[in-house]
């Protein structure tokens, strides 16, 4: 167990280094590199640019620059926004809550619905329900999230006027129920893709478990179908789902970005697009790195959770 834990931690560390290298490479792809913001200043000369480059240490060899950048990153110094000179890390964590709220509620919804659809599909294999769930999942995976959002706004906000078309709360209100009403549509829109993925995997996992010897034994003991399902099948089928939840994190985060844009949700995704619009590269880069770290952290937690829950790993 300890060996596994250390191995997994070491792996995450290596990935973190590789992720930072990719991030640094992307940063240097920015037009004019990190100097681009100064190049736009009226009356800027090449001489002054060179001097700024020297002050910022941009004339040093790239590997040195990279290590320096990484060192600051590790200390929590992620640079300052070009827009309002606020520290990047502070801006990002300020938008974290809205995104986590959206991702959290959407994940809960998709796990609940996906688990139910997956188990029902597996136990009633090749039924009409199973078939339509399979086709439905494939269609759901093909619908662009933002377009689904637009259609939802058109139907539920503009035509039926049931739900607000955007934002996280009404200005001057901000009660829990107000938050909840604003949360409904983005949550469902973001959950669509994940319900599809989750139900597919849950179906496969349930089928795997159903065909195992211990399930046959449980049935042979005379347990009812329902009891076998509740006590022996679901728990075991959910185990690989923890890993899947970790693997799905980049997709959910990416989906959150698009969903936030459509619903003017004040999270990291909106911040990312706003920053792109202002050429605010430090914030863009910060968000890129932050999301990758969030994903690495999430999959690490998922793996540790599996190791903790699964006796085959825990006791090895």
């Amino acid at each position: 167990m300890l060996r596994y834990l250390l191995g997994r931690l070491w792996q995450s560390l290596i990935l973190l280094v590789l992720v930072s290298m990719i991030g640094f490479a992307v940063l240097n792809l920015a037009p004019g590199g990190p100097l681009s913001q100064y190049a736009l200043t009226p009356g800027m000369t090449q001489e002054t640019l060179d001097r700024i480059a020297e002050q910022m240490g941009l004339n040093r060899p790239l590997p040195i620059q990279y290590l320096d950048w990484l060192w600051h990153l590790l200390q929590g110094d992620w640079g300052r926004s070009y827009r309002d000179s606020q520290p990047v890390l502070g801006i990002i964590t300020g938008h974290l809550f809205a995104t986590l709220l959206l991702m959290g509620s959407s994940t809960v919804l998709s796990i609940a619905v996906g688990t139910w659809v997956g188990i029902k599909g597996a136990t009633k294999r090749y039924s009409i329900f199973d078939y339509s769930a399979t086709v439905g999942a494939m269609v759901a995976l093909s619908i662009p999230t933002f377009w689904f959002g637009l259609v939802a706004i058109y139907v539920f906000s503009l035509e039926l006027k049931w739900l607000p078309a955007g934002n996280m709360y009404t200005i001057g209100n901000g009660s829990i129920s107000d938050y909840a009403i604003h949360l409904i549509m983005p949550t469902v829109v973001l959950a669509l893709v994940n319900v599809a993925v989750w139900s597919r995997y849950m179906r496969t996992a349930t089928l795997d478990v159903i065909n195992q010897d211990f399930v046959r034994t449980a049935k042979a003991k005379g347990l009812s179908e329902r009891r076998v399902l509740m006590k022996h099948v679901i728990g075991n089928a959910l185990l690989p789902m923890i890993t899947l939840a970790g693997l799905q994190l980049p997709t959910i985060l990416g989906g959150a970005l698009v969903t936030e844009t459509v619903f003017t949700w004040p999270g990291m995704g909106r911040l990312f697009l706003d920053s792109l619009g202002y050429n605010d590269y430090p914030v863009v880069m910060g968000l890129l790195m932050f999301s990758a770290i969030l994903v690495l952290f999430g999959s690490l937690i998922a793996d540790l959770l599996v190791a903790f829950v699964d006796p085959r790993i825990r006791l090895s």
């Binding site: 590789l18 637009l150 970005l257 697009l273 050429n279 890129l288």
Partner: protein, 294 residues
């Protein structure tokens, strides 16, 4: 394709007689997908010649015409341009970007996967960790950052989409090649003195063609979606060149007045992507030799 799945002793047979092809032809969803994408592609290729409107022709008297107004079957946009003409021209761009992004990402993924699987050891591990690192970024974040930094043209968008979606194929190819690396036929090829690259691409790679075709088909679906996302957000294909994604870009502000602006291109995207997902699913079932045993 028949060579991959031909059964020993089946003698000389045509590809359409192969079990794989027959299984694929029997797959109802795959056939639906094939028909949908054929119709859609034909509409995009031929459609613009049949319509009496140019996709860039601005007619301010015909602004916001709802669908089925005169010859405007899908209506017009805020500038009075015919939506059908724009949709078909946009389809050309979106489908081409999707296809070439698939081609490029398949090449990148295959080369990296074959190298990682064949050499294994440190090189293989390093390459695969690199794949993992790429997968840690939400692809839309990476895609948008790159698209904002690099001047977007249809060519560059294709490259950027490919750069952010080759990892799946690399993983599939690596696993396949790694499992075959120690087989006797590879040993024989080595003893014959064949070069590493010959063994990698002529001996090992053909064995992975099935999974690669499936993954490539699903990558077209993914690439069309990604193009739609970046273009919708304003960093993809730039107007006046229409794409399905950028047609939706301005649609949100006219949602109450002209909902067809949002609905029509969205349906086109969904149809195209669904088609490729259906076809990919059919290919997976057809190429999986085990599916006959069930």
């Amino acid at each position: 394709m028949s060579a991959i799945v031909s059964v020993p002793g089946s003698g000389k047979s045509h590809w359409w007689q192969s079990r794989t092809f027959r299984r694929f032809a029997r797959h109802r969803l795959a056939m639906i997908g094939l028909i949908m994408i054929t119709v859609l592609t034909l509409a995009c290729v031929i459609g613009p010649y049949l319509l009496p409107f140019d996709e860039l022709y601005i007619d301010l008297r015909a602004r916001f015409a709802p669908p089925l107004t005169g010859y405007h079957i899908f209506g017009t946009d805020p500038l009075g341009r015919d939506l059908a003409a724009r949709l078909f021209m946009a389809g050309r761009i979106s489908l081409l970007v999707g296809f070439f992004a698939m081609l490029l990402s398949t090449i990148i993924g295959t080369v990296i996967g074959v190298c990682a699987g064949y050499y294994g050891g440190r090189i293989g591990a390093a390459l695969m960790r690199f794949v993992d690192a790429f997968l840690s970024f939400p692809s839309i974040f990476l895609l948008l950052a790159l698209a904002a930094f690099i001047k977007p043209s249809p060519f560059m968008i294709t490259v950027i989409i490919a750069v952010t979606s080759w990892m799946e194929i690399a993983r599939i190819v690596e696993a396949e090649v790694r499992s075959l690396r120690e087989r006797d036929f590879v040993l024989a090829a080595r003893m014959l003195g064949l070069s590493n690259s010959w063994i990698m691409f002529r001996e090992l790679l053909p064995n992975a063609i099935g999974p690669i075709i499936v993954a490539a088909t699903l990558t077209v679906a993914r690439a069309i979606l990604l193009e739609a996302y970046v273009s919708f957000l304003g960093y993809g294909i730039q107007p006046p060149l229409p794409s399905w994604g950028n047609m939706l870009n301005g649609a949100q502000q006219y949602l109450d007045r002209a909902p067809w602006l949002a609905i029509v291109p969205g349906v086109a995207i969904t149809l195209a992507v669904t088609s490729f997902n259906f076809i990919g699913d059919g290919l997976r079932d057809a190429l999986d030799a085990r599916s006959d045993l069930n």
